[in-house]
């Protein structure tokens, strides 16, 4: 508890969580990013599954959305970090929060595993007559991970 208390006592974090406007603005930004950039993750996964955007190559979908997903992810994590650290004492004992952090870690593992064989090999995937299984596995796992991530985010509010 000591660490959590020290974190949320950092001057600007205290100001932030006590501000009437800043907190909801940051939360809204966090959520708007889920919409704007979550849609891009969904589009990429559905393209890898061959379910949509079939007139575009996998390469085009993955590479043209990649920079925006990075921008979105950075904003989302920065906003999330502000939300969690400013109320560190409330988040520290919350099992949904820690489950969410574990899922975030798993999303990192997913990137490490599938980037070299799927996301950085899109031209190979495009040349293949059928979408290879490894690409579909990557897409399904990504959908499962991001959906659980978002459900855990919502459930954080329900633990007391």
């Amino acid at each position: 508890m000591g660490i959590a208390h020290s974190i949320q006592s950092i001057g600007f974090l205290t100001d932030f969580s006590e501000s009437v406007l800043a907190y909801p603005i940051v939360l809204s930004t966090h959520l708007a990013c889920i919409g704007l950039f979550g849609g891009m993750i969904l589009a990429t996964d559905l393209r890898l599954l061959g379910l949509t955007f079939n007139s575009l190559t996998i390469t085009e979908v993955v590479t043209s959305l990649r920079p925006w997903k990075r921008v979105g992810g950075t904003i989302m994590i920065a906003m999330g970090l502000l939300l969690a650290t400013s109320e560190a004492e409330k988040y520290a004992p919350n099992p949904f929060f820690w489950t969410k952090m574990v899922i975030l870690g798993l999303i990192g593992v997913h990137a490490l595993v599938f980037r070299p064989i799927v996301y950085n090999k899109t031209e190979e995937l495009d040349r293949s007559p059928a979408i290879p299984t490894r690409a579909k596995v990557a897409a399904i796992l990504s959908l499962v991970l991001w959906t659980s991530m978002f459900v855990m985010g919502r459930l954080i509010a329900y633990w007391d």
Partner: protein, 149 residues
């Protein structure tokens, strides 16, 4: 009748159904706004450039529509669970006006320009920016409804 109804009873008595409705609401808006944003990003020349905006719209429109049904339905459930609170909320009516404007805009101006074969670039970009602003405002309206009573 708006305050005491079967939906309110169910949602208030079983906290998880409220959580579920919220998850469907947020997941639904993420998919609907996300799918609209893909068209907007194309219109702004920021992504998926090897296909026309009209074609992107054809791909995304079913997702947008299905997700919107889920958002509106779950939103109605959330509203009915605490109608008395929402009806006196200062922000909630504003959110509804922006939502109605965004919906009308999306299925008229936005749709029409996205389907144009050679729209003037300025018009294309303006229409996309207005679309993004409207939908992001709806999200802000939703959060502010919960924070500023």
């Amino acid at each position: 009748m708006l305050v005491q109804n079967a939906i309110a009873d169910t949602l208030n008595n079983a906290e998880w159904t409220f959580a579920l409705a919220e998850c469907v609401h947020i997941g639904g808006f993420a998919v609907s706004i996300g799918s609209i944003a893909l068209v907007d990003f194309r219109m702004l020349n920021l992504g998926l450039r090897k296909e026309t905006a009209a074609r992107i719209l054809r791909y995304t429109e079913p997702w947008t529509l299905i997700a919107l049904v889920f958002v509106v339905f779950s939103g109605l459930m959330l509203f009915l669970s605490q109608a008395d609170i929402y009806l006196v909320n200062q922000i909630f009516p504003l959110k509804m006006y922006i939502l109605i404007a965004a919906l009308i805009y999306n299925f008229t101006v936005h749709r029409k320009v996205a389907k144009m074969e050679n729209p003037p670039p300025v018009l294309n970009k303006l229409v996309a920016v207005i679309s993004l602003l409207l939908w992001v405002s709806v999200v802000f309206g939703g959060i502010f409804t919960g924070f500023l009573v």
